[in-house]
Amino acid sequence: LKLRRIEMIGFKSFSDKGDILINENGVTAIVGPNGCGKSNVSDAIAWVLGEQSAKSLRGEKMEDVIFNGTRSRAPMGMAQVTITLTETEPEHSNGNGNGNGNGNGNGNGAANGNGHGPRDIVVQRRLYRSGESIYLIDGRPCRLRDIQEIFLGTGLGPNSYAIIEQGRVGQLLSSKPHDRRTLIEEAA
């Protein structure tokens, strides 16, 4: 699996669409002044991977991730984050990620998983002010479990060691001996 693209709209300070293309290999640096929205990008990725705790997204309630307005813009009614991944080697087929419900996603999906070369997987999460939250794979609504399944075995998830939040790098060390054991177990 390789990350290709991150798109955010209505998510925190991204009232206008934010769009970041990621190279297949290499390092992508994100820079900018204090408070401009860099850590919001990292929050967006943790969120689309299924983060359930508003507190670890630096908010009080999950609704805090929806654009809250500025002096000159009204608050928005929905937050959406989309990440596009490419499955490089034809692993096990994901099946067709059957959704439930009748979401009207962008629907084009990708080449099916039977090994005909790299295929794109589009993972999306939406939250409405009403509290309704939808997950989508390739445009079709699905459960959170379906998204977690895509990343199963890769060690990736909202709270995995692969996402180091600002100011928290020392936490890998400071946890109790048993927490450190869990870290190794996670990787095993």
Binding site: L3, Y161, E165, Q166, L183
Partner: protein, 151 residues
């Protein structure tokens, strides 16, 4: 499951020893199982010895030494189980120039197997990136992504 843990532990420990030396430019890092005989689910202890110093408890390390030791552990975990991508949010803030250089070089060499997204204020770290995005707030409160360089 115990056997799997043991195998992972050995491999990650080896990886930690290597990445510790390349990040600190010397010294010795090691993972130890506490009380293995007594408790099969024993916790893990981290031993860090920056170059020229005595072996000591990770609590006594300085801010920068702690960050570097944590990064060495992270790298060892990735070597054992490469995750598709990794996000590092200003992990280089406590590091001095020499350690930022070693960190940036390490991340670049790891980026063959894992994609790294690095949020940073440090010019040295920016220089080693293959793609650079700026986030601005020309309109107050509204973030905008600007692609600065894309190789």
């Amino acid at each position: 499951c115990r056997r799997q843990f043991k195998e992972a532990f050995e491999a990650i420990n080896l990886g930690f020893q290597e990445s510790f030396v390349s990040l600190f430019g010397g010294g010795h890092g090691e993972l130890r199982l506490l009380d293995e005989a007594a408790d099969p689910d024993a916790g893990v202890e981290i031993v860090a010895q920056p170059p020229g110093k005595k072996l000591q408890n990770v609590l006594l390390l300085s801010g920068g030494e702690k960050a570097l030791t944590a990064l060495a552990l992270l790298i060892a975990l990735f070597r054992y189980k490469p995750s598709p991508f990794c996000i590092l949010d200003e992990v280089d803030a406590p590091l001095d120039d020499a350690n930022v250089d070693r960190f940036a070089n390490m991340v670049r060499s790891m980026s063959q197997s894992t994609q790294f997204i690095v949020i940073t204020h440090s010019k040295r770290t920016m220089e080693t990136a293959s793609a650079l995005y700026g986030v601005t707030m020309e309109e107050p409160g509204i973030s905008k992504i600007v692609s600065v360089r894309l190789n």
